[in-house]
């Protein structure tokens, strides 16, 4: 199995082909609807996304200490008990812009993305990885540490930007940097079969 480690180089990313299984390690940042809208509309990103990975994920987190005085936007202090990909297509209106603005190399999510993201992957050297949807206990096990959290107050825990240190997260290349999308292929082939079934 191919292994990818942060920081992700353009060469490593461009070498990947749709359908290949990979394991991802190192720093990964989570982001969902609120963050993508913020970033695409010109907002600043407190985490460094250049040559980084953006994971479409809202984790289940619990504070390590029950102390309510613990700084809410600081380093550590949290444990991820469940984490997995959310449906990526919701970020389609923003994704291409975010890849371009911040130099994101790896997007991790589920279900694939649209034409604009596919084109941005090819143009800027980015890859879209399919994580296993709903496998939250397994994926949480790959998360070794919460390094930092941003936008906790503003966006809430689920939509916040969590900087996670991960080890060996399993994924499959869904859209590669040559612009090939496995989802488009499955969609086209299944559309043909559906037409045959419905006569």
């Amino acid at each position: 199995m191919i292994t990818l480690h942060h920081p992700f180089t353009e060469t490593a990313v461009r070498a990947l082909c749709a359908g290949e299984a990979v394991r991802v390690s190192g720093r990964v940042c989570t982001g969902r609807d609120r963050l993508h809208k913020h970033l695409a509309e010109g907002g600043a990103c407190p985490a460094d996304l250049r040559d980084g990975a953006l994971f479409h994920c809202g984790p289940v987190v619990v504070p390590l200490s029950p102390d309510p005085a613990q700084p809410s936007d600081g380093r550590g202090g949290w444990r991820v008990v469940a984490a997995g990909p959310t449906t990526s297509i919701r970020e389609e209106p923003y994704m291409a812009r975010v890849i371009e603005r911040f130099g994101v190399r790896v997007v991790i999510g589920k279900g694939g993305m649209g034409e604009a993201t596919r084109a941005a992957c090819a143009r800027f050297g980015c890859v879209y990885l399919q994580a296993v949807g709903g496998a939250a206990a397994l994926i949480a096990q790959r998360i070794k540490r919460v390094a930092q959290v941003h936008f906790l107050e503003e966006f809430g825990a689920t939509e916040a930007l969590w900087e996670l240190d991960i080890e060996g997260l399993e994924a499959v290349v869904g859209i590669d940097a040559s612009g090939r999308s496995l989802y488009d292929e499955v969609r086209d082939a299944s559309a043909m079969r559906l037409r045959r079934l419905l006569g």
């Binding site: 359908g19 299984a21 609120r34 994920c57 809202g58 984790p59 289940v60 987190v61 619990v62 008990v81 469940a82 984490a83 997995g84 959310t86 449906t87 297509i89 589920k110 279900g111 694939g112 399919q130 296993v132 949807g133 709903g134 496998a135 939250a136 206990a137 397994l138 994926i139 949480a140 096990q141 966006f155 809430g156 825990a157 689920t158 939509e159 399993e170 499959v172 869904g174 496995l182 989802y183 292929e185 499955v186 969609r187 082939a189 299944s190 559309a191 079969r193 559906l194 079934l197 419905l198």
Partner: protein, 330 residues
Amino acid sequence: MDWTDTLAELIRRTTSDLPADAEAALCRAVDVESPDSQAALILRALVENTALARQQSTPLCQDTGTLTFFWEVPPGTDTAALEQAARNAVARATHNGWLRRNTIDTLTGRSVDSNVAEGCPVCHFEQRAADGEGSCKTPRSMGVPPMKHGQDARATPVRKGFCKSPEGHAAGIEVWLLQKGGGSENMSRQFSLPDETLGAGRDLEGVRRCLLHAVWQTQGFGCAPGVLGVCIGADRAEGFLVAKRQLLRSLDDAAPEPELAALERRVLEEANALGIGPMGMGGTTTLLGVKIAARTRLPASYFVTVAYLCWACRRRGLRVSSDGSLHWLN
């Protein structure tokens, strides 16, 4: 008995422990896919994840979903107290990390960190008549018409959980919890027949066309392999409720009406021939089950309502008998 404790335990089991029929279906699917495929890799991860979540008592999916409690209570029950216990249990389960902070104030955009708000969690109460005789009573919304004594076998209840237990439970309380994630809820939909673009008329062939179309449209969204809960007929609101309740049925049962059972089998087989596969990456496992119920309709209306559920079909039930003893129902 403390209902808050009991319901918190129901949430823990539901969120972390996939029912045996769903786990068995995933295991069977691993064997059907070719060993080196993405489909097999994904399905093996789902099976491994299922065991891990159960062992750790952690959520098997991070989207712990909308919590809907389906209650069946005897006459005179204080339902407000039960609803309050459900709310307390949700707050406790959230604190314990069994539920994600999963509730957003729609107007302010702020997180409601307790997961408790007006109408949240959802509770549906049905009163069970205290009919002491040996027949089974199936709630109207389970997809089977209410049974009258002497009616034929078409009214046989479709799921054991809503049957009268041998000792009778006229004074007991039964509750089922469904946790349904947002990705799958976004994929639930309603068709109004006839639908010219689908070539779907007002008959079971039209229903079949709607269902296959719905499965095709769902690829890349709700996590496949999924389950379809379907209601044919009813009005729009009742259609969604009945469709959702079908998701409480075991994957291994069949609709009591032969024509609906046949349609369930056919749509399952045809959907799995589309080649969509787990997570929409190709393969032969797109659906784990199809569960259809029919209701009457107005002459002017013919709705086909589809409640899509992802592979993480989190449903658990319990019954508290009149003597206070607790029985887990799956």
